[in-house]
């Protein structure tokens, strides 16, 4: 290999490396093994946000059914009027409690609606990160048929 082609290869490699380093910063709500595979809610929050001190707040609105007939599809809705940075849904009794984390950039409403799986009757917790602090709202959802398989 002559000098020119060596330089070319080096350039491509360094560009690829920069792209890799820049990636996680672009997608901030990216999936992280540590947070999502954590076995407890507090651990999951610690790994996702670097803190697990939470404050219950009535500004976090959590909508979920009182009784979910089918644990495979439980509609969950989280809404807040606070300037949210991130929203997470925790299902306490699931094998890995953290169900979802969403990144809320400026200009996007503090709102997430989705459908979750629930293994058994347990608390569903909505977590909103605002101003570096974590605010929560919880609700118990009764499950008639679990939805985690097994």
């Amino acid at each position: 290999m002559d000098r020119r082609s060596v330089l070319k290869v080096a350039g491509v490699v360094s560009a690829a490396a920069t792209a890799l380093v820049a990636m996680p910063r672009l997608a901030m709500a990216a999936y992280t093994e540590k947070a999502f595979k954590a076995k407890g809610g507090a651990d999951a929050l610690q790994n996702a946000y670097g803190a697990n001190a939470t404050t219950p707040s009535d500004q976090v609105k959590l909508k979920a059914p009182d009784i979910a007939e089918n644990g495979a599809v439980v509609p969950v809705e989280v809404e807040t009027d606070m300037q949210a940075e991130s929203i997470a849904i925790l299902i306490d009794g699931n094998p890995s409690p953290l169900a979802l984390t969403a990144d809320i950039p400026a200009g996007t409403k503090g709102l997430v609606k989705t459908r979750c799986r629930m293994g058994k009757t347990t608390n569903v917790t909505a977590v909103v990160k605002s101003g570096g602090k974590l605010y929560t709202a919880s609700k118990e959802v009764k499950v008639t048929i679990g939805g985690c398989g097994g």
Binding site: A29, A30, A99, L100, T108, K109, K113, R115
Partner: protein, 101 residues
């Protein structure tokens, strides 16, 4: 056809987005008929971009239901483009683009 269906409607400067992604979302806990575990297969990351700017991104666990439904809202206007894409744990990706109505 794309695996993602998007509905995006603007009202008073706010765009309501609803989307459905077709995906098995295997938890890794289910067993098939012969008693073998079906390997995990689920969407990990979902990103929404409007006119090239990220307006919403989220990460899913296996505890999100099969054929995930996701709704969110952001400030935008009619005629803007909205692109939603996902990536699963096998590295497969899909995306769909629509115009905000």
């Amino acid at each position: 056809m794309s695996s993602i269906r998007i509905k995006a409607k603007e009202r008073k400067g706010e765009v309501d987005v609803k989307c459905l992604m077709k995906h098995d979302m295997e938890t890794g806990l289910r067993k098939d008929k012969s008693g073998k575990k079906i390997p995990e297969h689920w969407i990990q990351d979902v990103t929404a971009e409007s006119n090239g700017k990220v307006v919403f991104s989220c990460a899913f666990n296996t505890s999100i239901s099969k054929d995930p439904y996701l709704a969110f809202a952001f400030s935008g206007k009619k005629g803007d483009t909205l692109k939603i894409s996902w990536k699963d744990n096998t590295g497969a990706t899909d995306s769909a683009e629509t115009q905000i109505k």
